[in-house]
Symmetry: C2
Subunit: 406 residues, 2 copies
Amino acid sequence: MLDKGNVLVAFGGGPTAVINETLVGVVLECRFRVRNVYGAKNGVKGIIGQEFVDLTRETNHNLELVAGTPSAALGSTRMKPDAEDCEQMLRVMRAHNIRHFFYIGGNDSAETTRIIAESAAVIGYDLRCIHLPKTVDCDLVQNDHTPGYGSAARYVAKYFLGGNRDNWALPGIYIVVTMGRHAGFLAASAALGKQFPDDGPHIIGLPERPFVLDRFLGQVDDAMRKYGRCVVAVSEGIHEGDGVPITAKLAQHQEIDAHGNQQLAGTGVLGDWLFHQVKTRTSYSRVRVETLGYGQRSYPDRSDVDAREAREVGEKGVQFALGDNQNGSVTIVRTGPYTVDFGLERLEAVAGLTRTMPPEYLTECGTNVTDAFHIFVRPLLGSGMPHMYRLRENPVPKIDLDRMFV
Amino acid sequence: MLDKGNVLVAFGGGPTAVINETLVGVVLECRFRVRNVYGAKNGVKGIIGQEFVDLTRETNHNLELVAGTPSAALGSTRMKPDAEDCEQMLRVMRAHNIRHFFYIGGNDSAETTRIIAESAAVIGYDLRCIHLPKTVDCDLVQNDHTPGYGSAARYVAKYFLGGNRDNWALPGIYIVVTMGRHAGFLAASAALGKQFPDDGPHIIGLPERPFVLDRFLGQVDDAMRKYGRCVVAVSEGIHEGDGVPITAKLAQHQEIDAHGNQQLAGTGVLGDWLFHQVKTRTSYSRVRVETLGYGQRSYPDRSDVDAREAREVGEKGVQFALGDNQNGSVTIVRTGPYTVDFGLERLEAVAGLTRTMPPEYLTECGTNVTDAFHIFVRPLLGSGMPHMYRLRENPVPKIDLDRMFV
């Protein structure tokens, strides 16, 4: 039975490795239910400009292939629509007889969805609005975790699995900056790079706790004394207790310097600053700092668990909207080790709010994670995570050369 | 039949994802041929200091697991031994009755192997010395390619496969700096991130050709006009025609500035400089620069082709030394599409020499690669390389809203 209206789906914000799964979940679940499923190119920009593609005309086969491809297949946008934009979007939706709107994104996208739903209600236009969660930062409230996070955490964990062995082979101080502006979930996933007791990361810098430089340098020194090396994971969002990310302060400073580098905020400046602090305030010479990039959200080695949850999020959204005639934000709820179910929260309960790591995931000192976090994150990384092995190092007795070659 | 002496194996230089395969190839091929196989910890440092582990006492099973683990399981070193060091190493080898020495590394390690072989010959000490190739840069002469490169190229190619789609979804200028100080093979492997005709990388900066800034900025502009976006791969070794890497010049300049950042050479400075040039000399606002790190040599997602060749290199080395009583450097020779065989070159023919990309792999303008390079590199990436798919984008006709909502 075909529903009376059409469906519109769009992306907002940064892409992930599994965001297309959610899109395809929506499209396939809509088939045989509605006449047309439209996709807006580049999120709200494409809605305002009527840049629609007819997803109904896609083959199921190509949709499945697109589902397995990282990054947003309709394009995305960083644009935050204002009231006027929302009014225009509603005009466009009415013109195209859109009766179900699915917006895939983070808490900003949830806020956009909420505004559109509210505006439609005000003018009495019958429109169901569903926000479908997506973020590598895992910072959506009401969710155990969000689609996109598992694959990003898999990349970070695998990066540290290899990076830790690299640092073991050529010892020194190795600092890696990860994404995660408000929540430390992604930086914390570096802890999965640890297998042997002396493995790194030895320190994890998280935005949930103040970054105390002197303590940090002391911890680096401790690790160097204990292990002869030190691996550090740092979230790009760390701050010194005032809530203002160090990255933001450095970018501001750079702007004053007119170096033209201010947009490196979140890219290289935090790493450069940490490098400078370690180099000038410790005596260790081999220091290496890296800042992870788009690989965190786009590297084609996704978590199968993440992928299937992202797909179901899309399917469930359609069931809630078309089957149950509801608005809301689809959520992932953990029901056991490891099972999940999907819920629907009011848009107001998710929109614009930020979730951070709960205290039980952090050690007392705040620079490492607990077993509870390991139990939380491990299933999300999916199948086929590699293990690292090392030699047993049976020593060969030394020979007194001076006595031998007299 | 047990040979009279013992075997020593060690690593030199940066690790790779498959370097342990070569180690294990040596150890397993030596079993039942010699009494003891020793591994030196941290390369020549461990030889000088007699830091040996008895690899004969490792289980076959653990050796196989270590073979599958990235990074150098004996540890490595950046140390370049001088004449005195080589003399000391020879004393240690004589004390431990080492009669076969295998050194796994790049052209510097080949040079070390050559010096030790020569010194042994001078004093009439019977020692077979074999250099086993390893480098992610693929810059060893006499080789079609080298163990470690295939896995590194796989990482870079996959990184660009995802990164290109990311840049498509949120368009702008996206520049990624790769390893490769003297040879562009690794930066060039970014070309494998290209599937559709408009995919990036649109420009590849290689040390084999001078980097001309004005031309580069013109090419960026061309791509932006043509595709609305631009993806760039740049080798850390690019120079402006004088052979001195831009990175080295920037580091020197920073040293004068006393910013304490000089060691970032090869890490962030080249990316920062490119960012600054693009931001100040073009009108485009969305510019993102990343510098790939140790993931290129340690990310646990290796090429199976690379892994099996690395293993055979170790095995063949033992056969050449113990079976044929020869010194030399084991080489990989391509014999067909796609088959290889292994040869043995004189140490002098490999030691200290650098191979760069042959002209037929570069397009005339020097900022992209030819089909010949694709044919060269594709088999080396191994099985299971992902493919990217996209929607067919069947457009939905626009509606004249002003006419509709009169």
